[in-house]
Protein backbone atom coordinates (compact mmCIF):
# COMPACT_ATOMS: atom_id res chain seq x y z
CA UNK A 1 0.00 0.00 0.00
CA UNK A 2 1.34 3.42 -0.93
CA UNK A 3 1.32 5.77 2.03
CA UNK A 4 0.50 9.45 1.83
CA UNK A 5 4.08 10.51 2.48
CA UNK A 6 5.34 8.13 -0.18
CA UNK A 7 2.89 9.54 -2.68
CA UNK A 8 3.91 13.08 -1.75
CA UNK A 9 7.58 12.20 -2.18
CA UNK A 10 6.90 10.67 -5.55
CA UNK A 11 4.97 13.69 -6.75
CA UNK A 12 7.23 16.39 -5.32
CA UNK A 13 10.69 14.87 -5.63
CA UNK A 14 11.72 14.08 -9.21
CA UNK A 15 14.55 11.90 -7.95
CA UNK A 16 12.08 9.73 -6.09
CA UNK A 17 10.05 9.26 -9.26
CA UNK A 18 13.20 8.36 -11.18
CA UNK A 19 14.25 5.91 -8.53
CA UNK A 20 10.89 4.17 -8.66
CA UNK A 21 11.34 3.73 -12.38
CA UNK A 22 14.84 2.38 -11.78
CA UNK A 23 13.39 -0.05 -9.31
CA UNK A 24 11.02 -1.24 -12.01
CA UNK A 25 13.92 -1.91 -14.38
CA UNK A 26 14.01 1.30 -16.38
CA UNK A 27 17.62 1.75 -17.54
CA UNK A 28 16.96 5.18 -19.02
CA UNK A 29 15.72 6.39 -15.64
CA UNK A 30 18.95 5.27 -14.03
CA UNK A 31 20.92 7.22 -16.59
CA UNK A 32 18.83 10.30 -15.82
CA UNK A 33 19.39 9.77 -12.13
CA UNK A 34 23.15 9.56 -12.63
CA UNK A 35 23.14 12.70 -14.73
CA UNK A 36 21.04 14.48 -12.12
CA UNK A 37 23.17 13.55 -9.14
CA UNK A 38 26.73 13.10 -10.30
CA UNK A 39 27.74 16.78 -9.97
CA UNK A 40 26.27 17.03 -6.50
CA UNK A 41 27.96 13.88 -5.31
CA UNK A 42 31.32 14.76 -6.84
CA UNK A 43 31.13 18.16 -5.16
CA UNK A 44 30.28 16.59 -1.83
CA UNK A 45 33.07 14.03 -1.99
CA UNK A 46 35.62 16.46 -3.43
CA UNK A 47 35.30 18.73 -0.43
CA UNK A 48 35.08 15.78 1.90
CA UNK A 49 38.21 14.08 0.61
CA UNK A 50 40.01 17.03 -0.92
CA UNK A 51 40.72 14.98 -4.03
CA UNK A 52 38.76 15.32 -7.25
CA UNK A 53 39.58 11.93 -8.78
CA UNK A 54 38.75 10.15 -5.55
CA UNK A 55 35.50 12.07 -5.48
CA UNK A 56 34.53 10.68 -8.88
CA UNK A 57 35.32 7.15 -7.78
CA UNK A 58 33.28 7.54 -4.62
CA UNK A 59 30.37 9.01 -6.53
CA UNK A 60 30.42 6.01 -8.87
CA UNK A 61 30.48 3.72 -5.85
CA UNK A 62 27.36 5.47 -4.58
CA UNK A 63 25.59 4.93 -7.91
CA UNK A 64 26.61 1.28 -7.89
CA UNK A 65 25.14 0.81 -4.44
CA UNK A 66 21.99 2.62 -5.48
CA UNK A 67 21.63 0.25 -8.43
CA UNK A 68 22.26 -2.83 -6.32
CA UNK A 69 19.76 -1.71 -3.70
CA UNK A 70 17.13 -0.64 -6.21
CA UNK A 71 14.84 -3.55 -5.42
CA UNK A 72 14.70 -2.58 -1.75
CA UNK A 73 13.95 1.08 -2.31
CA UNK A 74 10.69 2.29 -0.72
CA UNK A 75 9.56 5.89 -1.28
CA UNK A 76 8.71 6.37 2.39
CA UNK A 77 11.42 9.03 2.72
CA UNK A 78 12.92 11.54 0.39
CA UNK A 79 15.32 10.11 -2.14
CA UNK A 80 17.85 12.74 -1.15
CA UNK A 81 17.94 11.37 2.38
CA UNK A 82 18.39 7.85 1.05
CA UNK A 83 21.26 8.74 -1.28
CA UNK A 84 22.90 10.91 1.39
CA UNK A 85 22.82 7.92 3.70
CA UNK A 86 24.54 5.82 1.06
CA UNK A 87 27.09 8.58 0.47
CA UNK A 88 27.83 8.77 4.17
CA UNK A 89 28.26 4.98 4.30
CA UNK A 90 30.67 5.08 1.36
CA UNK A 91 32.61 7.79 3.13
CA UNK A 92 32.71 5.77 6.33
CA UNK A 93 33.93 2.70 4.46
CA UNK A 94 36.69 4.75 2.88
CA UNK A 95 37.68 5.98 6.31
CA UNK A 96 37.77 2.46 7.72
CA UNK A 97 39.86 1.18 4.82
CA UNK A 98 42.32 3.99 5.38
CA UNK A 99 42.39 3.16 9.09
CA UNK A 100 43.09 -0.49 8.37
CA UNK A 101 45.89 0.44 5.96
CA UNK A 102 47.35 2.62 8.67
CA UNK A 103 47.07 -0.25 11.15
CA UNK A 104 48.97 -2.50 8.75
CA UNK A 105 51.60 0.16 8.23
CA UNK A 106 50.80 0.71 4.56
CA UNK A 107 51.79 4.21 3.55
CA UNK A 108 48.87 6.20 2.24
CA UNK A 109 48.54 9.31 0.18
CA UNK A 110 48.70 12.52 2.05
CA UNK A 111 45.12 13.59 2.48
CA UNK A 112 43.73 17.03 2.35
CA UNK A 113 44.21 17.32 6.07
CA UNK A 114 46.82 19.83 6.76
CA UNK A 115 48.53 20.60 9.97
CA UNK A 116 47.34 23.57 11.91
CA UNK A 117 50.73 25.18 11.50
CA UNK A 118 50.51 24.96 7.71
CA UNK A 119 47.00 26.28 7.70
CA UNK A 120 47.82 29.23 9.89
CA UNK A 121 50.87 29.93 7.83
CA UNK A 122 48.81 29.89 4.68
CA UNK A 123 46.13 32.07 6.18
CA UNK A 124 48.61 34.59 7.56
CA UNK A 125 50.55 34.64 4.33
CA UNK A 126 47.43 35.13 2.31
CA UNK A 127 46.19 37.91 4.49
CA UNK A 128 49.58 39.47 5.07
CA UNK A 129 50.79 39.73 1.53
CA UNK A 130 47.55 41.13 0.29
CA UNK A 131 44.56 42.74 1.94
CA UNK A 132 41.70 40.37 2.48
CA UNK A 133 39.56 42.25 0.04
CA UNK A 134 42.26 41.81 -2.57
CA UNK A 135 42.76 38.16 -1.93
CA UNK A 136 41.57 36.43 -4.99
CA UNK A 137 38.95 33.78 -4.86
CA UNK A 138 41.47 31.04 -5.47
CA UNK A 139 43.41 31.80 -2.33
CA UNK A 140 40.27 32.11 -0.26
CA UNK A 141 39.09 28.82 -1.63
CA UNK A 142 42.34 27.17 -0.58
CA UNK A 143 42.12 28.60 2.90
CA UNK A 144 38.52 27.51 3.37
CA UNK A 145 39.32 24.13 1.91
CA UNK A 146 42.13 23.72 4.42
CA UNK A 147 39.84 24.79 7.21
CA UNK A 148 37.22 22.29 6.13
CA UNK A 149 39.88 19.59 5.98
CA UNK A 150 40.83 20.31 9.56
CA UNK A 151 37.37 19.26 10.76
CA UNK A 152 36.60 15.76 11.87
CA UNK A 153 34.99 13.48 9.29
CA UNK A 154 31.56 13.73 10.88
CA UNK A 155 31.78 17.49 11.30
CA UNK A 156 32.90 17.87 7.70
CA UNK A 157 30.11 15.70 6.34
CA UNK A 158 27.49 17.56 8.39
CA UNK A 159 28.78 20.94 7.19
CA UNK A 160 28.92 19.82 3.56
CA UNK A 161 25.44 18.31 3.65
CA UNK A 162 24.12 21.53 5.14
CA UNK A 163 25.94 23.82 2.78
CA UNK A 164 25.86 22.02 -0.53
CA UNK A 165 22.75 19.85 -0.18
CA UNK A 166 20.70 22.37 1.81
CA UNK A 167 19.84 19.66 4.31
CA UNK A 168 17.96 20.43 7.50
CA UNK A 169 19.01 19.16 10.89
CA UNK A 170 16.59 16.29 10.57
CA UNK A 171 17.83 15.29 7.14
CA UNK A 172 21.46 15.40 8.24
CA UNK A 173 20.59 13.33 11.29
CA UNK A 174 18.78 10.76 9.14
CA UNK A 175 21.62 10.53 6.63
CA UNK A 176 24.31 10.17 9.27
CA UNK A 177 22.38 8.00 11.68
CA UNK A 178 22.56 10.59 14.45
CA UNK A 179 20.08 12.48 16.59
CA UNK A 180 19.19 16.09 15.86
CA UNK A 181 20.92 17.35 19.05
CA UNK A 182 24.02 15.45 18.02
CA UNK A 183 23.95 17.15 14.63
CA UNK A 184 23.50 20.53 16.28
CA UNK A 185 26.47 19.81 18.49
CA UNK A 186 28.54 18.75 15.50
CA UNK A 187 27.75 21.96 13.64
CA UNK A 188 28.34 24.09 16.72
CA UNK A 189 31.81 22.66 17.21
CA UNK A 190 32.49 22.86 13.48
CA UNK A 191 31.55 26.53 13.53
CA UNK A 192 33.96 27.21 16.39
CA UNK A 193 36.74 25.35 14.71
CA UNK A 194 36.17 27.01 11.35
CA UNK A 195 35.95 30.39 13.01
CA UNK A 196 39.32 29.85 14.64
CA UNK A 197 40.86 28.96 11.32
CA UNK A 198 39.16 31.61 9.26
CA UNK A 199 39.25 34.43 11.77
CA UNK A 200 41.58 36.62 9.72
CA UNK A 201 39.09 36.63 6.89
CA UNK A 202 36.13 37.19 9.17
CA UNK A 203 37.91 40.08 10.87
CA UNK A 204 38.50 41.77 7.57
CA UNK A 205 34.74 41.82 7.15
CA UNK A 206 34.04 39.63 4.27
CA UNK A 207 31.38 41.08 2.09
Amino acid sequence: MVTESAMTNTLVDPSTALMLRVRDGDAAAFEELVALWQDRLVTLFRHHTGDHSSAEDLAQEVFLRVYRARATYRPTAKFTTWIHTIANNVSSDLRQRAYRRKERGVPQNVSASTSALGLEHLAVAASGLRPARQADRSELCDVVQEAIASLSDNQRMAVLLAKFEQCSYEEIAAAMGLTVPAVKSLLFRARDQLRAKLEPYEREGTR
Binding site: T43, A59, S168, R191
Partner: protein
Amino acid sequence: MSNPVHELPADTPAAALGPTWDLLDSLPRSIAPPSMTSTTLEMVAAAARPRPRSWWRGWLGPLAVVASAFAVGMLAGRATVTDPEKAVFEYLPVLEHYDVLKEAGSVEFLTEVARRNYPPPRRFAYGRGGEAAPPVHAALDAAVATFATASFGPAAGSPAERRTELADQPAEERRKLSAAAVEFQRLSPVGRRDLVRLARVFGGHDGAGPDRDEVLEAARLWHQWLATRDPADRKGVIELDTAERLEWLDHYALVRPGSGRGAYRDGGFRGLPPPGAPPEGPPPGWPRFNGRPPEGPHRGPPPPGEIPGPPR
Protein backbone atom coordinates in the same frame (compact mmCIF):
# COMPACT_ATOMS: atom_id res chain seq x y z
CA MET B 1 26.83 24.77 33.42
CA SER B 2 24.86 25.39 30.28
CA ASN B 3 24.75 23.18 27.27
CA PRO B 4 26.29 24.96 24.28
CA VAL B 5 23.95 23.17 21.91
CA HIS B 6 20.94 24.77 23.50
CA GLU B 7 22.60 28.14 23.38
CA LEU B 8 22.43 28.04 19.61
CA PRO B 9 19.96 30.64 18.52
CA ALA B 10 19.77 29.07 15.11
CA ASP B 11 16.93 27.05 13.81
CA THR B 12 18.81 26.12 10.67
CA PRO B 13 22.33 24.88 9.98
CA ALA B 14 23.05 28.07 8.10
CA ALA B 15 22.27 30.14 11.14
CA ALA B 16 24.23 27.78 13.33
CA LEU B 17 27.37 28.21 11.26
CA GLY B 18 27.06 31.99 11.42
CA PRO B 19 29.52 34.08 9.40
CA THR B 20 31.43 30.98 8.43
CA TRP B 21 28.50 29.97 6.31
CA ASP B 22 29.21 32.70 3.81
CA LEU B 23 32.88 31.84 3.61
CA LEU B 24 31.91 28.35 2.55
CA ASP B 25 30.48 29.91 -0.61
CA SER B 26 34.01 30.26 -1.84
CA LEU B 27 34.24 26.53 -2.23
CA PRO B 28 33.62 25.67 -5.85
CA ARG B 29 30.88 23.45 -7.13
CA SER B 30 32.42 20.57 -8.97
CA ILE B 31 31.38 19.59 -12.44
CA ALA B 32 31.70 15.95 -13.25
CA PRO B 33 33.49 15.21 -16.52
CA PRO B 34 31.15 14.57 -19.45
CA SER B 35 32.29 10.99 -19.71
CA MET B 36 31.40 10.21 -16.13
CA THR B 37 27.81 9.29 -16.87
CA SER B 38 28.79 6.74 -19.48
CA THR B 39 31.63 5.30 -17.40
CA THR B 40 29.31 5.03 -14.42
CA LEU B 41 26.70 3.21 -16.47
CA GLU B 42 29.36 0.87 -17.89
CA MET B 43 30.69 0.15 -14.44
CA VAL B 44 27.23 -0.58 -13.09
CA ALA B 45 26.44 -2.76 -16.11
CA ALA B 46 29.68 -4.67 -15.65
CA ALA B 47 28.99 -5.15 -11.96
CA ALA B 48 25.46 -6.33 -12.66
CA ARG B 49 26.60 -8.80 -15.31
CA PRO B 50 27.11 -12.34 -13.98
CA ARG B 51 30.80 -13.13 -13.85
CA PRO B 52 32.07 -16.19 -15.73
CA ARG B 53 33.18 -18.85 -13.35
CA SER B 54 36.87 -19.30 -13.05
CA TRP B 55 38.15 -22.70 -14.17
CA TRP B 56 39.34 -23.48 -10.68
CA ARG B 57 35.96 -22.74 -9.17
CA GLY B 58 34.60 -25.80 -10.96
CA TRP B 59 37.04 -27.91 -8.98
CA LEU B 60 36.14 -26.41 -5.65
CA GLY B 61 33.07 -28.61 -5.13
CA PRO B 62 34.73 -31.95 -5.92
CA LEU B 63 37.83 -30.93 -3.97
CA ALA B 64 35.70 -30.05 -0.97
CA VAL B 65 33.94 -33.41 -1.22
CA VAL B 66 37.24 -35.28 -1.45
CA ALA B 67 38.72 -33.34 1.45
CA SER B 68 35.61 -33.94 3.55
CA ALA B 69 35.64 -37.65 2.75
CA PHE B 70 39.32 -37.82 3.67
CA ALA B 71 38.70 -36.09 6.97
CA VAL B 72 35.73 -38.30 7.77
CA GLY B 73 37.75 -41.40 6.87
CA MET B 74 40.59 -40.35 9.11
CA LEU B 75 38.24 -39.69 12.00
CA ALA B 76 36.38 -42.96 11.46
CA GLY B 77 39.65 -44.84 11.25
CA ARG B 78 40.86 -43.34 14.48
CA ALA B 79 37.55 -44.13 16.13
CA THR B 80 37.38 -47.76 14.99
CA VAL B 81 41.02 -48.87 14.95
CA THR B 82 42.18 -49.16 18.50
CA ASP B 83 45.70 -48.69 19.55
CA PRO B 84 47.39 -52.07 20.24
CA GLU B 85 49.26 -50.61 23.18
CA LYS B 86 46.01 -49.28 24.56
CA ALA B 87 44.48 -52.75 24.20
CA VAL B 88 47.40 -54.24 26.08
CA PHE B 89 46.94 -51.73 28.86
CA GLU B 90 43.19 -52.00 29.13
CA TYR B 91 42.72 -55.75 28.66
CA LEU B 92 45.91 -57.13 30.11
CA PRO B 93 44.13 -59.96 32.04
CA VAL B 94 42.32 -61.03 28.88
CA LEU B 95 45.56 -61.11 26.93
CA GLU B 96 47.35 -63.05 29.67
CA HIS B 97 44.80 -65.85 29.31
CA TYR B 98 43.91 -65.28 25.71
CA ASP B 99 44.32 -68.97 24.73
CA VAL B 100 41.98 -70.14 27.48
CA LEU B 101 39.31 -67.65 26.53
CA LYS B 102 39.73 -68.31 22.83
CA GLU B 103 39.28 -72.04 23.45
CA ALA B 104 36.22 -71.50 25.61
CA GLY B 105 34.64 -69.35 22.90
CA SER B 106 31.80 -67.37 24.30
CA VAL B 107 29.30 -67.23 27.12
CA GLU B 108 26.54 -68.16 24.70
CA PHE B 109 28.34 -71.30 23.61
CA LEU B 110 29.13 -72.48 27.12
CA THR B 111 25.61 -71.77 28.29
CA GLU B 112 24.26 -73.91 25.47
CA VAL B 113 26.75 -76.68 26.29
CA ALA B 114 25.54 -76.65 29.88
CA ARG B 115 21.91 -76.66 28.78
CA ARG B 116 22.36 -79.65 26.47
CA ASN B 117 24.01 -81.61 29.28
CA TYR B 118 26.63 -83.33 27.16
CA PRO B 119 28.34 -86.30 28.86
CA PRO B 120 32.07 -86.24 29.42
CA PRO B 121 34.24 -88.25 27.02
CA ARG B 122 35.34 -91.66 28.23
CA ARG B 123 38.72 -91.43 26.63
CA PHE B 124 40.70 -88.50 27.88
CA ALA B 125 43.44 -87.70 25.49
CA TYR B 126 44.21 -88.63 21.98
CA GLY B 127 46.20 -91.90 21.90
CA ARG B 128 45.43 -92.68 25.54
CA GLY B 129 42.29 -94.67 25.05
CA GLY B 130 40.61 -96.05 28.09
CA GLU B 131 41.97 -93.48 30.52
CA ALA B 132 39.25 -91.49 32.21
CA ALA B 133 39.32 -87.75 31.58
CA PRO B 134 39.97 -85.88 34.83
CA PRO B 135 37.75 -82.83 35.24
CA VAL B 136 40.78 -80.63 35.80
CA HIS B 137 41.77 -77.70 33.64
CA ALA B 138 44.73 -76.03 35.30
CA ALA B 139 44.96 -73.17 32.79
CA LEU B 140 41.29 -72.36 33.24
CA ASP B 141 41.65 -72.38 37.01
CA ALA B 142 44.57 -69.98 36.78
CA ALA B 143 42.62 -67.71 34.45
CA VAL B 144 39.61 -67.70 36.75
CA ALA B 145 41.82 -66.76 39.67
CA THR B 146 43.22 -63.85 37.66
CA PHE B 147 39.83 -62.65 36.40
CA ALA B 148 38.37 -62.74 39.91
CA THR B 149 40.67 -59.91 41.01
CA ALA B 150 41.15 -58.12 37.70
CA SER B 151 39.45 -55.07 36.22
CA PHE B 152 38.95 -54.39 32.54
CA GLY B 153 38.69 -51.46 30.19
CA PRO B 154 39.61 -47.85 30.84
CA ALA B 155 39.09 -48.35 34.59
CA ALA B 156 41.85 -50.94 34.63
CA GLY B 157 44.41 -48.46 35.91
CA SER B 158 46.55 -45.70 34.59
CA PRO B 159 48.70 -46.41 31.54
CA ALA B 160 51.78 -45.71 33.66
CA GLU B 161 50.80 -48.41 36.13
CA ARG B 162 50.10 -50.91 33.38
CA ARG B 163 53.36 -50.03 31.67
CA THR B 164 55.22 -50.69 34.88
CA GLU B 165 53.37 -53.94 35.30
CA LEU B 166 54.32 -54.99 31.78
CA ALA B 167 57.93 -53.98 32.26
CA ASP B 168 58.12 -56.34 35.23
CA GLN B 169 57.10 -59.30 33.08
CA PRO B 170 59.77 -61.60 31.64
CA ALA B 171 60.71 -61.03 28.02
CA GLU B 172 59.06 -64.24 26.90
CA GLU B 173 55.84 -63.28 28.66
CA ARG B 174 55.89 -59.83 27.06
CA ARG B 175 56.38 -61.42 23.66
CA LYS B 176 53.40 -63.69 24.24
CA LEU B 177 51.32 -60.77 25.41
CA SER B 178 52.27 -58.79 22.36
CA ALA B 179 51.30 -61.67 20.07
CA ALA B 180 48.01 -62.05 21.94
CA ALA B 181 47.38 -58.34 21.60
CA VAL B 182 47.89 -58.55 17.84
CA GLU B 183 45.47 -61.48 17.61
CA PHE B 184 43.01 -59.71 19.88
CA GLN B 185 43.10 -56.68 17.60
CA ARG B 186 42.42 -58.84 14.59
CA LEU B 187 39.17 -60.10 16.07
CA SER B 188 35.95 -58.44 15.08
CA PRO B 189 34.50 -55.99 17.59
CA VAL B 190 31.90 -58.64 18.47
CA GLY B 191 34.63 -61.24 18.97
CA ARG B 192 36.58 -58.94 21.27
CA ARG B 193 33.46 -58.09 23.21
CA ASP B 194 32.64 -61.82 23.62
CA LEU B 195 36.05 -62.59 25.08
CA VAL B 196 35.93 -59.70 27.51
CA ARG B 197 32.45 -60.70 28.63
CA LEU B 198 33.57 -64.29 29.08
CA ALA B 199 36.44 -63.12 31.25
CA ARG B 200 34.01 -61.07 33.34
CA VAL B 201 31.73 -64.08 33.79
CA PHE B 202 34.68 -66.32 34.70
CA GLY B 203 35.79 -63.74 37.23
CA GLY B 204 32.32 -63.43 38.71
CA HIS B 205 31.93 -59.77 37.62
CA ASP B 206 28.75 -60.31 35.62
CA GLY B 207 26.14 -60.65 38.30
CA ALA B 208 23.26 -60.33 35.87
CA GLY B 209 24.69 -62.95 33.52
CA PRO B 210 24.51 -66.74 33.53
CA ASP B 211 25.49 -68.93 36.46
CA ARG B 212 29.23 -68.75 36.81
CA ASP B 213 29.73 -72.33 38.07
CA GLU B 214 27.60 -73.70 35.27
CA VAL B 215 29.63 -71.86 32.67
CA LEU B 216 32.90 -72.97 34.23
CA GLU B 217 31.75 -76.57 34.27
CA ALA B 218 30.79 -76.33 30.60
CA ALA B 219 34.22 -74.87 29.81
CA ARG B 220 35.92 -77.81 31.53
CA LEU B 221 33.72 -80.27 29.67
CA TRP B 222 34.47 -78.58 26.36
CA HIS B 223 38.18 -78.73 27.16
CA GLN B 224 37.92 -82.45 27.83
CA TRP B 225 36.20 -83.06 24.53
CA LEU B 226 38.85 -81.05 22.73
CA ALA B 227 41.51 -83.15 24.42
CA THR B 228 40.18 -86.26 22.73
CA ARG B 229 41.17 -84.87 19.37
CA ASP B 230 44.52 -84.89 17.68
CA PRO B 231 46.37 -81.69 18.70
CA ALA B 232 46.70 -80.85 15.04
CA ASP B 233 42.92 -80.87 14.73
CA ARG B 234 42.14 -78.87 17.87
CA LYS B 235 43.01 -75.50 16.40
CA GLY B 236 40.49 -76.00 13.63
CA VAL B 237 37.80 -76.98 16.13
CA ILE B 238 38.54 -73.93 18.30
CA GLU B 239 38.11 -71.68 15.28
CA LEU B 240 34.56 -72.95 14.75
CA ASP B 241 31.75 -70.61 15.62
CA THR B 242 29.12 -71.43 18.22
CA ALA B 243 26.74 -73.29 15.91
CA GLU B 244 29.54 -75.34 14.35
CA ARG B 245 30.97 -76.21 17.75
CA LEU B 246 27.60 -77.46 18.93
CA GLU B 247 27.23 -79.49 15.75
CA TRP B 248 30.67 -80.94 16.37
CA LEU B 249 29.73 -81.86 19.93
CA ASP B 250 26.44 -83.38 18.77
CA HIS B 251 28.38 -85.54 16.35
CA TYR B 252 30.96 -86.84 18.83
CA ALA B 253 29.29 -86.70 22.21
CA LEU B 254 25.70 -87.76 21.65
CA VAL B 255 24.48 -91.39 21.74
CA ARG B 256 24.25 -93.04 18.38
CA PRO B 257 20.62 -93.16 17.41
CA GLY B 258 19.12 -96.66 17.70
CA SER B 259 21.93 -98.28 19.63
CA GLY B 260 20.16 -98.07 22.98
CA ARG B 261 23.40 -98.99 24.68
CA GLY B 262 24.71 -95.68 25.75
CA ALA B 263 27.61 -95.91 23.36
CA TYR B 264 29.43 -92.81 22.38
CA ARG B 265 30.90 -92.06 19.03
CA ASP B 266 34.34 -92.07 20.66
CA GLY B 267 33.91 -95.78 21.57
CA GLY B 268 33.20 -95.35 25.27
CA PHE B 269 30.09 -96.35 27.20
CA ARG B 270 27.73 -94.24 29.17
CA GLY B 271 27.43 -96.83 31.93
CA LEU B 272 25.55 -99.97 32.91
CA PRO B 273 22.30 -100.73 31.11
CA PRO B 274 19.23 -99.87 33.04
CA PRO B 275 17.55 -102.60 35.10
CA GLY B 276 15.48 -105.05 33.06
CA ALA B 277 17.35 -104.36 29.88
CA PRO B 278 18.37 -107.40 27.84
CA PRO B 279 21.92 -108.61 28.47
CA GLU B 280 24.52 -107.08 26.28
CA GLY B 281 25.80 -109.46 23.59
CA PRO B 282 26.32 -109.95 19.92
CA PRO B 283 23.39 -109.67 17.59
CA PRO B 284 21.21 -112.77 17.26
CA GLY B 285 22.85 -115.61 15.22
CA TRP B 286 26.41 -114.49 15.99
CA PRO B 287 28.69 -116.93 17.97
CA ARG B 288 29.25 -115.88 21.56
CA PHE B 289 32.79 -115.75 22.87
CA ASN B 290 33.24 -117.64 26.20
CA GLY B 291 37.06 -117.69 26.51
CA ARG B 292 37.50 -121.18 24.98
CA PRO B 293 38.51 -122.18 21.41
CA PRO B 294 35.53 -122.37 19.14
CA GLU B 295 33.96 -125.71 18.61
CA GLY B 296 33.47 -127.34 15.19
CA PRO B 297 35.76 -128.28 12.29
CA HIS B 298 39.40 -127.23 12.50
CA ARG B 299 40.04 -124.16 10.46
CA GLY B 300 43.84 -124.15 10.94
CA PRO B 301 46.52 -124.55 8.28
CA PRO B 302 46.14 -127.61 5.85
CA PRO B 303 48.09 -130.86 6.47
CA PRO B 304 51.57 -131.00 4.98
CA GLY B 305 50.59 -133.53 2.27
CA GLU B 306 47.92 -131.29 1.04
CA ILE B 307 50.26 -128.41 0.47
CA PRO B 308 50.45 -127.83 -3.24
CA GLY B 309 53.94 -127.71 -4.71
CA PRO B 310 55.37 -125.04 -6.84
CA PRO B 311 54.09 -124.94 -10.37
CA ARG B 312 56.09 -126.97 -12.78
